[in-house]
Symmetry: C2
Subunit: 569 residues, 2 copies
């Protein structure tokens, strides 16, 4: 590609409204432009990267699944049948067509594929079947942000597998796990598959594929000594601390100025590990509208874990001050486990505590030196908290580390959630109808582009891997418009590299070398060849690596071979 026949559209200034590095660099490198909130046009440089990611995803997926393409626009009937018409909320964009029939813009395609398979597949003999597509999706996000990281329209690879046994699903699930590893490895990303919550899609088991990056929205948890890895939402927190016998008498004390754990710790010189905090949340049943969840003072509630308790309402909601006061008789600063009139559930680590401090359920008072069984019956115990760094790994090997990640893939063992709701059956081996068992497998193709940038950039711009660079090689001629020799050499080299199917950009603009270098670094071309009058006189060209910054002089007639070896690496 010649720059003069291209739409380079690089920007010198960082746009004000872009908060994360990938969004800033995608705008500055002329990869994307906003059309409206959460809607982006992919300019040539961006689209070249997106297509390379898409092709790698397709090549690897073709080894494990068969490609189809479903409509973006879906009839509402199917969503009503699966009950997601009511469950999905306003992220599901709904509209009527000219005949006043209701439709949606597909945010995902479980309904459409289940409908297809229940029509096309009649016998267990046709299974397993794994179908995928790479397609534009739409989610009407309440707050689109971070460019294509959380946009409303985005490119997704979604796959759906169909089975008559859980074993068969698990086999395909493992194949997809490996396929995803192969994809993200080929993309050159530092990533981790982690155990994840199945969330609103439902199902039994699930893994996220997280690209490690400071700016990630997810906390992911690793063991120092095993391959245990999970999203913090899901990571099991084991009990920490040791169980000791009581040493002091329980005492009720006035604590008028201690409304928070921090104030109790400071004013009464107790260790934070000797305090508990009591959070009141909405209950799942009318009989028990409020539930008290109790954590060690230094631990944080994990709402995903709380929702999974049968006692706790979904969606998760804290009780408001007035409700608490009316029911318990004390404000949020004075709640505790002694004489609590609503059901109490304590975290595993709280069970091990002794001589601890807790609100008295009387405003301005706390109990000190409380001990289970002696002073108050042991309530229900559950895993309620987020793990913290240094916690033991739940597999018993090593301790936990926490890093930030960007979710770029997610695989689910769905089970029969959709096939049951939509009555999708096949004839089983015994001749009877059998409800299908499903898996689903997503990759955020456009989000991968942003995640790759978050992980690979510097002050000058993006640093692409060879696999997904918009161009792998840049030819930057110095003052070509004044030197026929430079021009001839540049043109010849350009034709040679093109003939080898190398994605080369030839910066043939009448610009100062500094402008050209800055642009090629900004858009992240991994390999640059500089052609100057001076070095040509020595029969040499300069090579510069975007990744190491190193420069090398290479004999003119060895440059093509040298570049080929760099592209293999």
């Amino acid at each position: 590609m010649r720059t003069t026949q291209y739409l380079l559209s690089t920007l010198k200034e960082t746009p004000n409204d872009a908060q994360v590095v990938s969004h800033q660099l995608m705008l500055r490198a002329g990869m994307i432009r906003p059309l409206a909130s959460g809607l982006y046009t992919w300019l040539p440089t961006g689209l070249r990267v997106l297509k390379k990611v898409e092709n790698i995803v397709r090549e690897e997926m073709n080894k494990a699944a068969v490609e189809v393409s479903m409509p973006v626009v879906q009839p509402a009937d199917l969503w009503i049948e699966s009950q997601r018409w009511d469950d999905y909320g306003p992220e599901l964009l709904r509209f009527d067509d000219r005949g006043n029939r209701p439709f949606v813009l597909g945010p995902t395609h479980e309904e459409v594929i289940t409908d297809l398979v229940r029509r096309e597949v009649t016998s267990y003999k046709q299974l397993p079947l794994n179908l995928y597509q790479i397609q534009t999706k739409f989610r009407d996000e309440v707050r689109p942000r971070f460019g294509v990281m959380r946009s409303r329209e985005f490119l997704m690879k979604d796959a759906y597998s169909f089975h008559t046994s859980t074993e068969c699903l698990q086999n395909t699930y493992e194949v997809m796990h490996q396929t995803y590893c192969n994809i993200f490895n080929r993309l050159g990303l530092d990533f981790r598959p982690v155990q994840a919550d199945t969330g609103s899609i439902g199902g039994n088991a699930s893994h996220e594929f997280q690209v490690l990056a400071q700016s990630g929205e997810d906390d992911i948890v690793f063991s120092t000594e095993s391959d245990y890895a999970a999203n913090i939402e899901l990571a099991e927190a084991v009990a920490v601390g040791e169980k000791h016998a009581p040493t002091k008498e329980m005492a009720l004390m006035d604590t008028p100025n201690a409304k928070t754990i921090a104030e109790v710790v400071e004013q009464f010189d107790v260790a934070i590990e000797k305090t508990v905090k009591t959070l009141v949340v909405k209950g799942a049943s009318e009989e028990q509208p409020l539930i008290a969840l109790v954590l060690r003072g230094d631990h944080d509630l994990n709402e995903i874990k709380a929702i999974k308790l049968p006692e706790v309402a979904e969606p998760f909601e804290f009780a408001d001050e007035a409700e608490i006061k009316a029911k318990i008789g004390a404000g949020v600063g004075s709640l505790g486990v002694v004489n609590m009139p609503i059901p109490v559930i304590i975290d595993r680590s709280v069970e091990l505590m002794s001589d601890f401090t807790t609100g008295a359920n009387i405003d301005g008072k706390h109990y000190f030196n409380v001990n289970w069984e002696r002073d108050v019956a042991l309530p229900k115990v559950a895993d309620l908290r987020n793990v913290v760094e240094g916690d033991p790994s739940p597999d018993g090997k090593g301790t936990l580390l926490i890093k930030r990640g960007i979710e770029v893939g997610h695989i689910f063992q769905l089970g029969s959630k959709y096939s049951e709701a939509m009555n999708a059956t096949v004839q089983g081996e015994d001749g009877r109808p059998q409800t299908l068992i499903m898996g689903c497998y997503g990759i955020g193709v456009s989000r991968v582009v942003a995640a790759a940038i978050e992980q690979n950039h510097d002050g000058r711009g993006i640093k692409w891997s060879n696999a997904i660079a918009p161009f792998t090689v840049a030819i930057v001629p110095m003052n070509m418009h004044k030197s026929d020799e430079v021009k001839q050499e540049a043109e010849a080299l350009y034709e040679q590299l093109k003939a080898l199917n190398i994605d080369v950009i030839f910066d043939d603009r009448k610009e100062r070398p500094g402008v050209m270098f800055a642009d090629m670094e900004l858009i992240g071309v991994p390999h640059t060849i500089v052609i100057g009058q001076r070095s040509l006189e020595n029969g040499e060209l300069e090579y510069k690596s975007r990744h190491t910054g190193e420069k090398q002089m290479i004999a003119k007639d060895q440059m093509v071979e040298f570049i080929q070896s760099q592209l293999k690496g």
Copy 2:
């Protein structure tokens, strides 16, 4: 691909609701399935073809333009700015997002690309620029039909070029004309570029690319002796007949039972070429609300030509009987050119007529032997009619033939329609702002698939060209499950062909050979290799061509080479 790991989904029966052959065969061959009216899922076999078409379009387009990707969802503002918000009608699907902001599903992208270019391109030095995308479009057709031929969601290649001079636009237009020829040639289609009307998109010049097929919705017109070709909507009709001097006196006669041209011809023994018909249509101005258009009795009105007359209202509408009666005093069966109280425009061929018959504008009466100037002043003359076969070609070379065509591509010299409405300017060579001049260029990628089938099928199914076949080679083993030798040979050949990157389908089902042959013929695989125990004993395999139906025995160890030579052809 192994059939057992694939979703073949062929049907024996022709679905009732499919009217055209391509729709029937796409359903039967398991290429598409309906999801809702005008919405189709592409099954694996269909998608393989669609992707091959898409890739050929992309490869050729990349030689002439730069690829971008714009959102499917577009903000209404831009459509209001271009004035198409009002002009486009209900085919433009409109909806509000969760924030009650109005959006549309893009049926085409002139607005979005013009908005992009006015922001990104500031100087004439950055031009010409030719940008394209291959993307899902949505048009809310009032009557979606013929499968993917006229669906609501479809895949389109749309390109837009930007210039500061008409000359430059014409250069790019010619490049695109050639690019389209290259594309449709590579696709293996019998097609014609024809002059076309610019319709509602507007602009100066335009060509359609029409695939010749009986089922086409368009009439296209060719010269027998030159390369003149046009859509009948546009084809210029020259005057036919010869001018003769009057030979008889004009006579007013009672014609109570002759309300149509056919009845006049029959009851009064006049040649149809000696009659005229008078059609009353709505006028463009309040002063002249009705206009009479007059054609020779055997000619048909061309509404597109009529609309282009300044006197005629757009959109085209016939006057209703009551209006005609009120204004002229006679019903539609008795209208004519003598004493007509409303403006009259006659077709070129009518000007040459003498001694002709016309309604008298008195119910139940006609004038016979009317002659221009002697009996009635010559009105305005215009090209009003559709050409018919045998008409002289408007370029003076040969006569015209008419065939049916399917429009698969359309290129336009748009001019400044959008750039003016949207104030898209660049700095010109003289330093002053200059309004951009645009071209636009579309290919209906999904429609190409249907058109190729309309042109290439027989009673057994589809006959694909090598270029776009879902699979180019089928391996059909006879009773593989009973013969290890057949199985080994089939497996080995399958691996060999796959290793050569040949798109091979290996029918490894436990089916009778007849079922397998029928399916491979239905889905249109061009080359089939039959592996049977008997021929293997002679060291041979059978080759069968889908196009010629010919069978050949080929030595086992020469089959791969033979197939490679067939694929080159």
